[in-house]
């Protein structure tokens, strides 16, 4: 194993996972106030009306597609009796629809964020970082779906990329599997790990707050003003605090 392989296909994924998990715990405990979707609909609504739903719903479809393609082994779909042709056909069509949706939706949103001064003024540094990574991942994903799978020669990522991805979670990283994949797949995967590392520090955390609980909650919420025991260091509650801030 070369140090190149060790770094890109073993260390980076595990480092990203650790940063992802620890970062989220830290952000949740320390920065509830900053945990928000940071909507800019107040400033601009015409472009958002088309861009935001298109991007989000297409991204959901793309994520679902990745779950099917990467997490579920080929042997499982074969055991189910799904022929290879049917699988490729389905993933090709559904993947292409999702890819085109992401392409148009993200295009509108990026244009909006860059081109509308009111929205641009709200954009922070970490927003740009997340936006660039998302852009790279989306563009490569679209290229791989449409350019390679649909209209190109086709490539069976399920025997290389997916095997490597699952092996990371088994604790026996199969770096050889990803090493054989075309370079565009490698860049796509690397950018994906990087966005996982950026995730807890960006506005992307709002994804975990999708308020499904609202479906079951009583409409009007009452709360008592009466004080409960204040959270104290070492007795539960918030243990992560900004350095220098008095309790």
């Amino acid at each position: 194993m070369s140090s190149f392989e060790l770094w890109w296909w073993v260390i980076l994924p595990y480092a990203a996972m650790v940063v992802f998990v620890v970062g989220h715990i830290w952000r949740w405990r320390y920065d509830q106030f900053g945990w928000t979707s940071r909507s800019t609909q107040l400033q601009e609504r015409r472009l958002l009306k088309w861009g935001a739903p298109l991007f989000h719903y297409s991204a959901f479809a793309a994520i679902a597609g990745h779950v099917i393609g990467i997490l579920i082994p080929r042997s499982f779909t074969e055991w189910l009796g799904i022929p290879e042709r049917a699988y490729t056909l389905f993933s090709g069509i559904a993947g292409s629809v999702a890819a085109i949706g992401v392409l148009i939706g993200a295009g509108i949103l990026i244009f909006r964020r860059m081109g509308v001064p009111r929205v641009r003024a709200t954009t922070s540094g970490v927003d740009y970082l997340a936006l660039i990574l998302l852009g790279v991942i989306s563009l490569l994903g679209i290229y791989l779906t449409l350019g390679v799978q649909e209209f190109g020669s086709g490539y069976d990522y399920r025997t290389t990329v997916s095997v490597w991805f699952r092996s990371l979670f088994a604790g026996t990283p199969d770096y050889k599997a990803i090493g054989d994949a075309p370079v565009m797949y490698q860049v796509h995967a690397t950018a994906a790990w990087m966005i996982f590392a950026v995730w807890p520090f960006s506005r992307l955390v709002h994804a975990w707050s999708y308020p499904l609980w609202y479906l079951w909650r009583p409409y009007v919420v009452y709360r008592d003003r009466r004080a409960g025991p204040p959270p104290e260091p070492g007795t539960g509650g918030r243990r992560w605090r900004k350095i220098g801030v008095p309790y």
Binding site: R38, S39, Q41, L42, V221, R225, A227, P246
Partner: protein, 551 residues
């Protein structure tokens, strides 16, 4: 019966002179921060007028508040829970910042640094959103005093159905001011619309608040409120709203808008209400019955049975006693002269209004009626359909009889007092003709015309005995002197104990306190000052001028 207490407000619109002092002090206290430039927790609108944000009363457009479904059950007008979750990426009912008014400032430095010259320098308007030059097109109070009313006022939603009869001509126009804060509704649709569960109604005093730590910025509360009194902070991405100055209310002080009201038109006090009846009242089939339905929710704090139930529900005895002296209960329930704003939104709002008699009387005067004569004024009130219908659209979902009854009662108070002052004979039947006794009219006169501070604001202190015990335990774990600016951190520490305890009752101490400003001078803190006691350090001390040499 499940009694709950609610701090509520009544505003006497006859007394509002539209000076915006309430808006200014509210803004200084709560929203003078980046991200809230466009936000006015308290604003004063000219009516007829388009409102803030523009046409917020048009619920067919903005879908705020509640409605009844086909089976007569209460439902959010903007749609059910699933629809909300599906439209979370784009809320179709959210006003744009242009509807509130794009906030701006000026590059004052241009004026400050302008070279000496013959021409006065002028300043550019700069958008607070982008920092660029901008053209002013609309603001939060663009149509103040009917400015531009011929163009904008006809689109006031309350004029629906009256358009052909309303003339925006100077001699015939009627107008009044409508100060608005959050209604702190009994059935708040903003709370119901919040998908995160971050908004809540406090069970002790009914104040509706946003938990900023749990708000995720999904912005459905903004569109869910039919009064558009929840705002989106465009810097923090969180919702903010009128807090009814809860830190002051908890200390038994009136809200800052009430405290500083020049016309002394605001009343604060408690209602006791039956929480079990709220949903049923809000689901009253006929919109015009909602006012009566809301009245039926309130409990009489003098009733021994209510008192027993309140004690069982944990409402402190001094709160029940305060509810008996409550001016808002007296005006809304006993005298029935205060009305809720837009009861048809079905949120059971808790800021009520005494409709203004003056614009009606003014129009009566212009029409040639003598408004000292109550009979004539009554006749005029009955004749003047347009102001009455307009007020009815605001306060009773269009039921003109209720507004007419209130105005007649207010006119009767004026007639009784006028007769007393001038030694005129008074028709014995006058009080009975407006459904009151002479004593009741006298009581009403004392409440609305005299209205001493103690009678206008009956706010019991919050009970926080347990919190003190818990805090004492907490304080052992850290040194309170180590806070920012404390002696443990190299500062001078708090200048006086008063500034940390706003809890002076207005009659015993001046309130206020002093603080050390950035320039090192000790200054007087006007916040919390009751206006009666001394105000040391309010103005800079004049340094003694050393006498010049005689030579």
């Amino acid at each position: 019966m499940r009694p709950m207490a609610q701090v509520a407000m009544v505003m006497n619109l006859d007394k509002c002179i539209g000076c915006h002092t309430c808006s200014v002090t509210c803004k200084q206290t709560w929203t003078n921060r980046p991200g809230t430039e466009y936000v006015y927790f308290n604003n004063v609108e000219t009516k007829p007028g388009i409102g803030y944000p523009r046409r917020y009363e048009d619920q067919e457009r903005w879908k705020g508040g509640w409605t009844l479904d086909r089976k007569g059950r209460l439902q959010l007008k903007a749609g059910g829970r699933l629809l909300k979750l599906l439209s979370i990426f784009y809320n179709p009912n959210l006003p744009s910042i242009d509807d509130y008014g794009d906030p701006w400032t000026y590059d004052y430095q241009t004026v400050v640094n302008a070279p000496l010259g013959t021409q006065n320098p002028s300043v550019h308007s700069i958008s607070a959103l982008t920092g660029r030059d901008m053209k002013l097109r609309w603001g939060s109070n663009w149509d103040d005093d009917l400015a531009g009313a011929p163009e904008t006022a006809p689109s006031d939603p309350n004029l629906a159905g009256l358009e052909d009869r309303v003339k925006m001509e100077f001699e015939q126009v009627f107008m009044f001011y409508l100060p608005r804060i959050c209604e702190h509704c009994l059935n708040p649709s903003c709370v119901a619309s919040c998908p995160s569960g971050a908004m809540y109604k406090r069970s002790e005093d009914g104040i509706v608040l946003v938990d900023e730590d749990r708000c995720r910025g999904w912005r459905f509360c903004v569109s869910g409120c039919p009064y558009k009194k929840v705002y989106f902070n465009h810097r923090t991405g969180k919702a903010e709203k009128c807090t009814l100055c809860f830190p002051r209310i908890e200390e038994g002080q009136p809200t800052i808008c009430s405290e500083t009201c020049v016309g002394r038109l605001r009343y604060l006090g408690l209602f006791l209400y039956d929480a079990d009846k709220v949903t049923e009242a809000a689901a009253t089939p006929d919109e015009q019955d909602l006012y009566e339905a809301q009245l039926s929710v309130f409990l009489d704090p003098s009733d021994p049975e209510v008192q027993a139930e309140a004690a069982k529900a944990g409402i402190p005895a001094d709160w029940v006693e305060a509810a008996q002296r409550s001016p808002v209960y007296a005006l809304a329930v006993r005298h029935r002269v205060a009305l809720p704003l837009h009861p048809e939104y079905r949120t059971l709002p808790m800021v009520w209004y005494i409709p203004p008699l003056s614009p009606v009387a003014d129009v009566a005067h212009a029409a040639g009626y003598e408004h000292g004569d109550p009979d004539r004024v009554f006749a005029t009130i009955d004749d003047l359909r347009i102001p009455i219908e307009y007020l009815a659209n605001l306060f009773t979902a269009g039921k003109t009889e209720t507004v007419r009854d209130v105005l007649r009662k207010l006119a009767a108070v004026r007639a009784v007092m006028r007769a007393g002052q001038l030694g005129l004979d008074l028709d014995e039947d006058l009080p009975a003709s407006v459904g009151a006794t002479a004593d009741e009219l006298d009581d009403l006169y004392r409440l609305i015309a005299i209205g001493k501070y103690e009678d206008r604001y009956v706010v019991p202190k919050a009970h926080a005995e347990d919190a003190g015990r818990l805090m004492a335990q907490h304080e052992q774990l850290f040194c309170s002197l180590d806070g920012e600016g404390g002696p443990g951190m190299g500062g001078n520490g708090p200048p006086s104990v008063e500034s940390f305890h706003p809890g002076r009752t207005p009659n015993t101490a001046a309130g206020g306190g002093t603080f050390r400003a950035d320039d090192g001078r000790t200054r007087f803190n006007l916040l919390g000052w009751n206006g009666r006691g001394d105000a040391p350090h309010l103005f800079p001390e004049v340094p003694e001028v050393p006498e010049a040499d005689g030579s």
